[in-house]
């Protein structure tokens, strides 16, 4: 058993937040001075092989974050609600999978939610300064006061996580209980989990614990057991132990090789540079042309010709059908 996180002291002097503004390593639509010292990276490890699908974590998340999910309808499956919402930051997704090797039916239960990517696509896509921040301990957090509700983060996220509230029109997702972690607590979901399928600690500790779990699983015949810490997004601060780590997608569509979409990279990269350059060139060309060629003015002669034309007097002849005006071509 992984040693549980002790309850923190209630002594007010011990409640000084362990991280805050000064530990921000990335801030959406802004450049930040990287903090001199990086905090120890934290991580949440979700051991899918130990999960019994009780949804205590899902309930704890609603409770801690003071959220209420709408009363839904029964779709005949265990998933409830059917997708993440602006209230449901974490959702148990149930998959019935027939293992082709053993012909056993396996019930795969994955706790879906923000992965707290080391390279967060949501933050990269966000146009609003400071609406998304990443702390040096790895937590990616949304700052609602700065969010404009554009939904760009949804397009940037490789895991399809953020949701826009229809009430305040800002984006919501799992905070990794940044408020609890700041005072030395573990996330609410972790605290609620009755089987220790969810554990929380430093990223190193979590990797070590995962190794132990994976060895145990391998010894029991799950030869493809492994850790899901996808390097395509630089690793994540929420990791899974999977019995079939060779095929993450069987776990309700967990991406096999998540990375920020090349379309998003193009949109937030070259399009911006080329776009600004192109508009600049167009404007500069105009100014330059005006300076070199001068204004194109109607002459006195033009006015006289127009007067002659309207009064029926002789004027320069009309152009030929192709407008050649009798010029040699």
């Amino acid at each position: 058993m992984f040693p549980p996180i002790p309850n923190p002291s209630v002594d007010p002097s011990a409640v000084t937040p362990r991280f805050g503004e000064k530990d921000i390593v990335r801030r959406s639509a802004s450049t930040v001075e990287p903090p001199a010292q990086r905090l120890t990276e934290v991580a949440k490890l979700i051991d899918v092989t130990k999960c019994i699908g009780c949804k205590a974590c899902q309930a704890a998340c609603l409770e801690w974050n003071q959220l209420t999910e709408e009363i839904g309808i029964n779709h005949g499956v265990y998933d409830n609600p059917m997708d993440l919402t602006e209230n449901t930051f974490t959702l148990m997704r149930f998959t019935e999978w027939e293992n082709p090797e053993t012909e056993n039916l396996e019930w795969l239960i994955r706790k879906d939610g923000c992965m707290h990517c080391e390279d967060p696509g949501c933050l990269k896509a966000c146009p609003s300064p400071g609406a998304i921040v990443q702390y040096s301990n790895g937590i990616v957090d949304f700052q609602h006061a700065n969010c404009i509700g554009c939904g760009y983060c949804i397009k940037g996220c490789p895991f399809n996580i953020p949701r826009i509230s229809k009430v305040d029109h800002t984006a919501y997702k799992c905070t990794l209980c940044s408020d609890r972690v700041a005072v030395g607590q573990g996330p609410a979901c972790q605290k609620a989990c009755p089987t220790q399928a969810i554990v929380f600690g430093t990223k190193e500790e979590m990797k070590g614990w995962a190794d132990f779990r994976i060895k145990d699983l391998k010894s029991r015949g799950f030869e493809n057991a492994g850790l899901y810490d996808p390097q395509g997004v630089g690793g994540t601060h929420v990791m899974y132990v999977l019995h079939h780590a060779d095929k993450p997608s069987i776990y309700a569509g967990l991406p096999d090789n998540p990375r920020i979409s090349p379309i998003v990279e193009t949109w937030k990269g070259i399009t911006k540079y080329m776009g600004m350059a192109l508009m600049g060139v167009a404007a500069a060309a105009g100014v330059l042309h005006y300076l070199v060629a001068g204004p194109n003015k109607v002459t006195e002669e033009d006015e006289e010709n127009a007067e002659k034309l309207t009064s029926g007097a002789a004027v320069p002849p009309p152009a030929g059908p192709a407008g050649n005006e009798g010029r040699p071509t």
């Binding site: 639509a29 802004s30 146009p127 609003s128 300064p129 700065n146 969010c147 404009i148 509700g149 554009c150 939904g151 760009y152 949804i154 397009k155 399809n160 826009i164 029109h169 979409s261 379309i263 998003v264 193009t266 949109w267 399009t271 911006k272 080329m274 776009g275 600004m276 192109l278 508009m279 167009a282 404007a283 105009g286 042309h289 005006y290 060629a293 001068g294 204004p295 194109n296 003015k297 109607v298 002459t299 006195e300 033009d302 006015e303 006289e304 010709n305 127009a306 007067e307 034309l309 309207t310 009064s311 029926g312 009309p318 152009a319 059908p321 192709a322 407008g323 050649n324 005006e325 010029r327």
Partner: protein, 246 residues
């Protein structure tokens, strides 16, 4: 001395003479180019395009995010931008119906384009005579038409507040890339359009008061002016600017 002697040759009716276009003899000659309705239509389009460019660019790059201040903050910018887009689309659609016929490509456009270097160098006397619109103006018209069509389509795909469930995230990603790139082209075409109006003196009055001088029409749209002079319905003015004897 009348401009429309019934015996003078009347050019075949041309696509680019539009209802409301008329020439008023006088000193100087004035030519009606845009009706009041066309001008209102144009300025609604122009204002909405500028507002869209400003509100869009605010989200395009953090360096221009301060432009959201013009619209009452980020949330309001995000709300307003697509609605202004709807106004632009409807207004431009009317403009399109008004102007498309006069913007149909003609053989002379190829020659005009081939000589556009002379045009830019200020040697307009070398240019072929053109009708109501030259090839450059036609380029602006057709490219704007295409770009606005792409912008409204991609814009609706990105409009999460109302259309989120109808497309996949991958489709939304494509839409936003297309929308950004298209918006840049639209802004560049707009720069060309505005620059042309600044560079070619005497053009602004076409869209403000609706008329230009005869000299302007002679210099830049001579074929159109000849067609107007030959047009049987030309009446010497209800405006009083042009009694021939003046």
């Amino acid at each position: 001395m009348s401009a429309h002697d019934p015996n003078s040759p009347v050019p075949t009716p041309a696509d680019d003479v539009q209802s409301g276009d008329a020439v008023h003899p006088g000193h100087p000659v004035t030519v009606d180019r845009y009706t009041l309705a066309a001008r209102i239509n144009h300025w609604i389009t122009a204002v909405s395009l500028v507002l869209l460019a400003l509100s869009g660019l605010a989200l395009f790059t953090p360096r221009l995010f301060f432009l959201t201040g013009l619209f009452g903050g980020g949330q309001n910018t995000r709300i307003l931008h697509p609605w202004i887009g709807v106004v632009l689309f409807c207004s431009f659609a009317l403009l399109f119906i008004r102007f498309w016929r006069a913007n149909l490509p003609k053989r002379v456009d190829a020659e005009w384009l081939a000589r556009s270097g002379d045009m830019l160098a200020g040697r307009e006397e070398k240019m072929p005579e053109v009708g109501k619109y030259n090839a450059g103006q036609k380029f602006v018209f057709w490219s704007m038409s295409a770009l606005i069509l792409v912008l409204i389509t991609s814009g609706i795909v990105m409009w999460d507040q109302y259309f989120y469930p109808y497309t996949t995230i991958e489709q939304k990603r494509i839409a936003i890339l297309v929308h950004s790139a298209t918006a840049i082209f639209a802004i560049c075409v707009w720069i060309v359009h505005v620059y042309a109006a600044i560079w070619v003196k005497g053009t602004f009055s076409a869209m403000t008061r609706g008329r230009v001088t005869g000299g302007w029409a002679w210099r830049h749209h001579r074929k159109w002016l000849r067609e107007l002079v030959g047009k049987p319905t030309t009446t010497p003015t209800s405006r009083g600017t042009g009694t021939p004897a003046e």
